[in-house]
Amino acid sequence: MAQVTLSEIRKSYGSVNVIHGVDLQINDGEFVVLVGPSGCGKSTLLRMIAGLETITGGTLDIGGRIVNDLDPKDRDIAMVFQSYALYPHMTAATNMGFSLEHRGGSKAEIEERVNWAAGILGLEALLDRYPRQLSGGQRQRVAMGRAIVRNPQVFLFDEPLSNLDAKLRVVMRGEIKSLHQKLKTTTVYVTHDQVEAMTMADRIVVLNRGRVEQIGAPLDLYDRPANRFVAGFIGSPSMNFIEGTITAEGFATAGLTVPLPIKAQSHVGGPAILGIRPEHLRLDPAGIRAEVLLVEPMGAETQVTMLLGNTQVIGVFRERVDLSPDTVINVMPDVAAIHLFDTDGGQRLD
């Protein structure tokens, strides 16, 4: 286990800068998830930690050593790849023990470590099988076995669940999380799926266009997003955004006025963007008029897409609502859960 510190890490391909100076400290035993849309640089950052990409600038420290110029094998890390990258010509056991074998481990030691990893991951019966004889979930577990077998200082996961179906993804999510709880190894996990990020991370790092937008615990990011990007990225369905102006009465948009918490009053007179999460809208006869466009019953909740003034918004209602398109309803935002962002950089207004 080790602390990982990224200081002003930069990456360029020729004149194109893809990572613009990332500072991040990952504590010993922490599970950190790098999340962001495609092309945001999260996989590049992970590969730089792994040593599979060179670092253009800044320093990378793993366990108190600057490792910028070290080969992957000398960084004491293990990585689980998106495609699992199991060696097709080796059995599950050989795949798992390969790195130990290469590092000169004795046969007995390798067998012991492989059996230990297989025991943790429930792979005992599959050790003699080749990757082609395993299902997606089993391959995933073998890939994790290969990572844990030599007890590295840091685990790196590069979108390891994206090749699995939705149901298996949920199962494996739980397995990775419980594996981390057992081993307490520092883990950096890359995903584009914010649900994975929310459910697995001790802390989330939201990346966008090679820059860190916000770092924080999952619920901190959810409750107090630093900017409009994070607010829109974290949470499903996404936060609703409505453009308007802050007035003494509240937030005015398209002839409507939404009451605001007192803290927003300091921005009176300026344009702003109001953010409200779908579950923070409730049906209220005294609320704002909205035209229903689409109703999607999910069982536990109902998702309603509606037109509020000129803006399309989504509301999620826990109660069973009997609505149909073209009907008119009244919704009221939970004033305490309103977020305000400026219109220029999308930064949070507090």
Binding site: P72, Y87, H89
Partner: protein, 280 residues
């Protein structure tokens, strides 16, 4: 192929296939049967598809008239060395062109490929002069070195490169994380996965060397150094006329290992054709 053909169509199809088979089967049949006919029966009219008279002494004469065992050995070991050498050189070269980023890699690869465009007849004279200066004429070195570093190897390098390009990069990255260096990644990961490609190019390389004719004719002059295709031309009478039945007996013995290999490795051979994109 569809399996729901009508019986009539099926008969027609098989009939057509039998007709198409004739140009391939007939020469082999003629070679084998003529090798045990007296020479007068070979040119009898009407032709005898099934021998009327048998002369098995042709096979013993093959060994009496030439050091045929020695020539057989020459062909076999040269083909084996060339095959192994080409596999080693070309798999490494193919891997380097596919996986290692070095300056002007693509340009160098194109230059290497140009070697395929130059017919061996064009380079044979300079090669002869080169090997003459090196004191290697009338040795087997030219027959080993030219294919390993010449056009056949270029072809195999191209095939291997195309194979290695398709190997997922993540496999190599996983191996790097597991602690392997470049050469070990090649030897422990890339090469074992290249077995199907290696098997197919090995068959072609072996056949190419086994059938090599121009180079032995140019470089070798002693009968005990000859390879089989060259030895076949030596079965002539005092007037230089071919001793057809003995020559065909030698030809049958020459073709035998290839036929056996083909029958055993038929599946790999066909897959190899598909793999290399060759038409034969």
């Amino acid at each position: 192929m569809k399996t729901d053909l009508s019986p009539r169509l099926r008969v027609a199809l098989y009939g057509l296939m039998c007709v198409l088979l004739i140009p391939f089967v007939f020469p082999t049949w003629w070679m084998v049967t003529s090798s045990i006919k007296p020479i007068s029966d070979i040119f009898a009219f009407p032709p005898q598809l099934i021998p009327q008279n048998y002369d098995w002494t042709t096979y013993s004469k093959v060994f009496e008239l030439q050091p045929f065992v020695q020539q057989y050995w020459n062909s076999a070991y040269i083909a084996a060395v060339v095959t192994i050498g080409t596999m080693v050189v070309s798999s490494m070269a193919g891997y380097a062109f596919a996986r290692i980023r070095f300056p002007y890699a693509d340009t160098i690869f194109m230059i290497v490929l140009l070697g395929l465009l130059i017919p061996s007849e064009v380079t044979i004279v300079p090669l002869f002069q080169m090997f003459l200066k090196a004191g290697m004429v009338n040795t087997h070195w030219p027959l080993i070195l030219v294919p390993i570093f010449g056009a056949p190897s270029v072809f195999v390098t191209f095939v291997m490169r195309q194979f290695f390009v398709t190997l997922p990069a993540e496999l190599e990255e996983a191996a790097r994380v597991d602690g392997l260096g470049r050469f070990k990644i090649f030897r422990k990961i890339a090469l074992p996965l290249a077995k199907p490609a290696l098997a197919s190019v090995a068959i072609f390389t072996f056949l190419h060397s086994w059938n090599l004719f121009l180079e032995p004719i140019v470089f070798l002059s002693s009968a005990d150094k000859f390879t089989l295709p060259q030895a076949l031309t030596q079965y002539t009478d005092a007037y230089g006329g071919p001793m057809w039945n003995i020559q065909l007996a030698a030809a049958t013995l020459t073709a035998l290992p290839v036929l056996i290999v083909f029958i055993i490795a038929q599946k790999q051979f066909v897959e190899g054709l598909a793999h290399t994109g060759l038409k034969g």
